[in-house]
Symmetry: C2
Subunit: 193 residues, 2 copies
């Protein structure tokens, strides 16, 4: 299943054959059917696994680097930046990829992708809550967590196609500017349109 996760990420779902997965797992194609009754079920297991490893594999190592909740958010975004650079813009966010690859015709997978997004937003939302009074009290922090995921996914998408880190960096820079304005609000009440 680790093999499936890797190759789905590298090549995409449709472009990956079960023989490819079996080869990386040092097995033969037919053996996979002992554990998964179809390619689709294998994908669902991979997506379920992504949910399970998000905290121990993705978040915990980042959370460990700093205890400042806002720094954790920036560090999480940096993780995707490193992924882009490290893979020379070939891969990207594995969940985002699968979202636009199979989200529209594999309903069960779509639901599990949504659950992964919810988990990610939830983790960022926790950071925003923990930031307490450093952000405006009346701020919609759920909405802001969704917004941050949008910026990340959109930035990764653009940088992959541009084969340049520029669009990702530009997106994160603007996000940081927004935060600096949110955090300076204390000095003067913000007037909503």
């Amino acid at each position: 299943m680790q093999a499936a996760r890797e190759i789905f990420h590298e090549r995409g779902y449709a472009e990956t054959s079960l023989a490819d997965i079996a080869e990386r797992a040092r097995a033969r194609g037919g053996s996979l059917y002992y554990f998964f009754k179809s390619k689709e079920k294998l994908l669902e297991a991979v997506l379920e696994d992504y949910k399970a490893i998000m905290r121990p594999v993705l978040l915990d190592p980042i959370w460990q680097k700093t205890s400042d909740p806002l720094e954790r958010v920036w560090s999480l975004l940096s993780r995707y930046r490193e992924l882009l650079l490290h893979t020379e813009f070939r891969y990207g966010c594995p969940i985002g990829n699968l979202a636009l690859q199979v989200g529209h015709y594999l309903p069960e997978a779509r639901v599990k992708i949504d659950e992964n997004f919810r988990g990610w937003r939830g983790a960022v939302h926790d950071c925003l809550q923990e930031a307490g009074s450093r952000l405006p009290a009346d701020l919609d922090r759920e909405g802001l967590a969704t917004f941050i995921l949008s910026v990340m996914e959109g930035g990764v998408m653009q940088s992959r196609c541009a084969k340049s880190i520029e669009p990702f960096d530009a997106s994160v820079d603007v996000l940081k500017d927004y935060f600096s304005r949110l955090q300076s609000e204390g000095m003067r009440p913000h007037r909503k349109e």
Copy 2:
């Protein structure tokens, strides 16, 4: 080619067979090869066409609704909102879909997808420039245009998977809040971190 554009959008590139395309074009599979020497070349022609129709088909009807440059940006985003609602979250941005479907293994297509993104950002950038002094003078308007595309693509991605307009709306709402803060800057100089 219109048929190809539609079905690539609805089903995705890998899930679309040339027979499907020919059927919608009221032709037979073999006939396509008189115009396109491969499925990949057909995709490239579709992406080239997207660039060509962006202005007359996507932008001009929106620009016509209002001459206010910032309203044009919100109206453009509303167009994607309507697309999500109108298709019950099945489709999404056709370029974004293709970006994460084939961007990593069809190099020529990836370049043309990038060109589409550049065109979109360019149109938004023109709006931001036209907004003149309504935005801070020292603002990076190229970066902001990239940011807006990120928010749109990320919002569409999340809403499709959630089958709910909430993530898209939340993303756009936060973006509007950012703009309202940018526009109120005139009242008091903003201190950069």
